[in-house]
Symmetry: C2
Subunit: 166 residues, 2 copies
């Protein structure tokens, strides 16, 4: 790590500042607007929705809890608490496999499937209203490309074992 | 609210799906990569950094806790716990104003200022490495414009009292 980095810092340009702060604010406000709609229209949190959407699309409508945690990028303990609450509401069930070291499955119930199926159209309409209605088709394409480019870079540096302490 | 929305749902196109999932994944992975660097290089969380950066730029290097909560978009109770921890580490102090109903101030300490000043160059380098190095100047400009367009839309619908239950 350079101890002289201060002397060679390339501070963000105005445009980069706008892009960085914009991205952070965009995510925070978009996420909160979509979450508010989802709660009002379906009584679901974003966490509920993400989990139900994943499980509804999974083969056999179930997924290992460890894999589900990776997919939705939650810590295992947070997911475990969330699944307990969703189990009490009848949206999911967990099935343990004592003989299988890879751990328990989470499965969406028929009630859970009814709930996500009913919630999806309003949720899509909310994403469309808050995000896509503000953008031109060229901007939608640019956003998809920007996301892919940054994610490629992040995944390459992650697989190369870089951790920023260079 | 339309009860027949299912029959008229405009599902997301492939491109819109890529943009929406891309934006969510981009934010999650970028945030986590930048947070990991920040912790490794400076021992600060993203919350620490956001609060110290806000206070270091505020007039008199202090801000009302209620305003700080709005600026960094945290719930008041979460910010209060965070400030208690940062106070114990000597990074900030809180000053109460019993005669002023608008509430307490948070102020960055000289130690806090030293810490954020030392952390900033590595943090900027981390943002540059993970975000901007993957993008062309045109994409940086597009990202700033996309963010501004979506935020404009969100703020307009918020000030118009729309809540998604249309």
């Amino acid at each position: 790590m350079s101890s002289k980095l201060e002397t060679m810092t390339r501070w963000l340009s105005d445009q980069e500042q706008r892009a960085w702060r914009g991205l952070m604010d965009l995510h925070a406000e978009l996420w909160s607007a979509v979450a508010r709609d989802l709660q009002a229209n379906s009584g679901l949190s974003q966490g509920d929705y993400a989990i139900l959407a994943c499980l509804s699309e999974a083969p056999g409508r179930r997924q290992r809890v460890t894999e589900l945690a990776q997919t939705i990028r939650w810590e295992r303990s947070r997911l475990s608490h969330q699944l307990s609450r969703m189990e009490k509401r009848g949206l999911v069930v967990r099935t343990e496999c004592p003989e299988d070291a890879r751990g328990a499955f989470a499965e969406i119930t028929p009630d859970g499937l009814t709930v996500i199926t009913a919630a999806a159209p309003e949720h899509v309409a909310s994403v469309r209203r808050h995000l896509f209605d503000a953008l031109t088709p060229e901007q939608v394409e640019a956003l998809a490309e920007i996301s892919a480019a940054v994610l490629d870079g992040l995944r390459q540096s992650s697989s190369a074992g870089m951790n920023g302490s260079t």
